[in-house]
Symmetry: C2
Subunit: 328 residues, 2 copies
C-alpha cells in the first residue's frame, strides 16, 4: 500500500520533502498545497497537482499524511493545530521555548480528530534530540555538548540582510576545532559561547555603502554576533552566487560520561552530521516520520508525538522480521 503524502508550503523545505518522497517507493506525492497562486508554482514531480491551501479541507480522503513545511515563527503555530484534526501531520517546529504550547495545541486537535501528529522533526530538533536522549539514559553521569556547523544559518544571514547598505549575505556557523577536540578527548571543558563557535559572514554591499559601518554593525549585533568571534568578507554578487549558493549544515552531539563503581571508566558518544543540503536532509527526516505517523494511526494511535515517542521500527517500510535480520 502506497502512502499518499501532501506537502503544504513549497519553499526549500517543501522541495526537500518532495525529493525525499521520490526516494521512498512506498510513498507518493499526492499534491502540493500553497498559499501563493498555484498556477505560478512549477513543481518538479511530474503529473502532480498544485492546489490552493484552502482546498485541503475537502481532500481528507485523498491524503494519508500532510507534511507542513512552513516557518516556525508564524506559519506552524497556526497551520499545524488547524490541520491536525483532519490529517496525520508532520512538522519541523523549532522554536524551542514554545514547544510545550505548540504540543498542547496540536495534541488537542489530533485527539479530537483521531489522528497522529508528529511535531519538531528534522535534525535539531529531531535526530540531535534523539541522540541527546539515548546518550543521557546510557550515561547518566556525564556532560552534553552540541556543536553546529560548518553550515549556513538562515537566521543570521537574514539578520545581516536587514542592515542598511547590505544587498545580500550568507553567514556560516563554524565550530571551534580545538573545542571539539577537547570535548572528544574527554576533558569535559567548560566552554563559553565564544569558545564553541565562530561566525563567518560573506556580504554583498550596496554601491557606495560604508563598509566599515556595516562590519561594525554586524560584529556588535546583540545575541546574533556580539558574543562570537566574527569575520566579515565583502564580496561581489557574482561571488556570492558562485561560491555560496548551497545550504550546507551539520554538527555533532557529543556526550562524555563515566561508568564504574567509582566512575573510573570514561566514554564518548558522538553523533555527527555533515550535510550538503540542510533542507533536503530535514525533508528526508520528515518523510520518514510521515511513514511513522501513518502506520501508527493505522494501528489506532492518536495524539501529538515527538521523535521521543516513536518506536524506530515505525520509520521503516520493512517489517520486524526483516529489520531484525538485516539491521540488528
Amino acid at each position: 500500500m502506497t502512502i499518499r503524502v501532501g506537502i503544504l508550503g513549497y519553499g526549500n523545505l517543501g522541495k526537500g520533502v518532495e525529493s525525499a518522497i521520490g526516494q521512498n517507493p512506498d510513498m507518493k506525492l499526492a499534491a502540493v498545497f500553497t498559499r501563493r497562486v498555484p498556477e505560478k508554482l512549477q513543481i518538479r514531480t511530474k503529473g502532480v497537482s498544485v492546489l490552493p491551501a484552502d482546498e485541503l479541507q475537502r481532500l481528507q480522503e485523498e491524503i494519508d499524511v500532510l507534511i507542513i513545511c512552513g516557518g516556525s515563527a508564524t506559519d506552524l503555530p497556526e497551520q499545524t493545530p488547524k490541520f491536525a484534526s483532519l490529517f496525520n501531520v508532520v512538522d519541523s517546529f523549532d522554536t524551542h521555548a514554545k514547544i510545550p504550547e505548540h504540543f498542547a495545541a496540536v495534541d488537542a486537535a489530533a485527539q479530537k480528530g483521531g489522528k497522529v501528529s508528529i511535531i519538531s522533526c528534522g535534525w535539531d530538533p529531531g535526530m540531535f534530540s534523539l541522540n541527546r536522549l539515548y546518550a543521557n539514559v546510557i550515561l547518566p553521569q556525564g556532560h552534553d555538548y552540541t556543536f553546529w556547523g560548518r553550515g549556513v544559518s538562515q537566521g543570521h544571514s537574514d539578520a545581516i540582510r536587514r542592515i542598511p547598505g547590505v544587498k545580500d549575505a550568507r553567514q556560516y556557523t563554524i565550530p571551534v576545532p580545538e573545542a571539539v577536540e577537547a570535548v572528544r578527548s574527554g576533558l569535559n571543558p567548560e566552554l563559553s559561547t565564544r569558545q564553541k563557535h565562530t561566525r563567518e559572514c560573506f556580504v554583498v554591499a550596496c554601491e557606495g555603502a560604508d563598509l566599515a559601518a556595516i562590519e561594525r554593525e554586524i560584529k556588535t549585533m546583540p545575541n546574533y554576533f556580539a558574543d562570537y568571534d566574527t569575520t566579515v568578507h565583502f564580496i561581489s554578487e557574482e561571488e556570492l552566487a558562485r561560491d555560496h549558493k548551497g545550504l550546507p549544515h551539520g554538527g555533532s552531539v557529543i556526550r562524555t560520561g563515566e561508568t564504574g563503581m567509582d566512575g573510573e571508566h570514561k566514554h564518548v558518544i558522538e553523533y555527527r552530521l555533515a550535510l550538503d543540503s540542510n533542507p533536503e536532509f530535514t525533508g528526508a527526516v520528515l518523510a520518514a516520520y510521515a511513514r511513522a505517523a501513518f502506520r501508527m494511526n493505522q494501528e489506532g494511535i492518536k495524539g501529538c508525538k515527538t521523535v521521543f515517542d516513536i518506536a524506530p521500527a515505525y520509520l521503516s517500510a520493512k517489517n520486524g522480521a526483516e529489520l531484525r535480520k538485516q539491521l540488528l
Copy 2:
C-alpha cells in the same frame, strides 16, 4: 517508584550492570543470581544478597526486571526463554544468525507470561543497530559502513589462548584510518575485510614455546586472522597485566547517502563510540532498557522486543513534558 532489578550472572557484564544500576536513582539492585556457589561470590553493592539461580522462580514478586548477563553461545538461548514467562527480562544476545530463532522462543514465553522481554541490547547489536536503522530510513539511497575498535575482541583473544604454547593473550581490533577517512569523505569505497580492519595481538608464551610457530598459527587462522593484516607481539605476563588489563572498545556506524531530484547532494551520518570499558557501557545500555521493559509492561504491553520496537521515551526516568523541555 523504584525499579527492582535482578542480575543473573556475575561476570564482567553482570558487574557492568551492577555499576549502572548504582548510577540510576530510580533503580535498585534487588539481588544477584549465580550458578556458582553464592557464598564464594563477593559483589560490590552493600547489603544485596547473592542467591542461587534456582531460587529465581520463587522471587517473582521481588523483582521487576531481570537482566540476564550470560553468554550468547550456550547461556542465553536457554536462560532467556526460561525466565521470560516469569519476569520482564533484558539480554544482550549477539549471535546474529540465530536472532530470529531466539526472538521466537523468547516471544512465546513472554506472551504466555504477559511480560516484556528485550533481546540483543548493548551497542552492537543495540545502539549501532539503531543508528543503522535511523540512517537508512533518512537516506534510502546510500551506503552503510561499520568499523569496530580500537578495542579488545574477547573472541579473538580466546582463539589465541587455545593455541598450544600460549599462556595468555589479548587481541585488539583496529580500524584502518585511511578506510575510515575515505568513508567519511563520501567516496563510498568498496572495502575488503583486509582494507577495513587490522588485528594486533599481545601474546604471553609458555616457557620454551616455539614463538615462530605460534605467530604462524595465529596469522593463518581461518575466519579469525587469515583475512587480516595481523601483528603479533610477544610480551611478559607482567606487561600484559600492566598494559592490557582493560576492555576498551568502540567504533563507528557511518552511512553516506544522496538526496535531491538527481541525488546531487551528499550527506554523512556517523555514530561513534569510544569506550574505556566495553562491559560497563553494555551494562549501562541494558539498565536503560530494563527501565523500558518495566514501564512498557506497566502499560500492559507484552512479548519480545528489540531496540527497534522501543520508543526512546521509555528509556528515560523523565516524563514526556520534561523530555520535550530539556532534550528536544
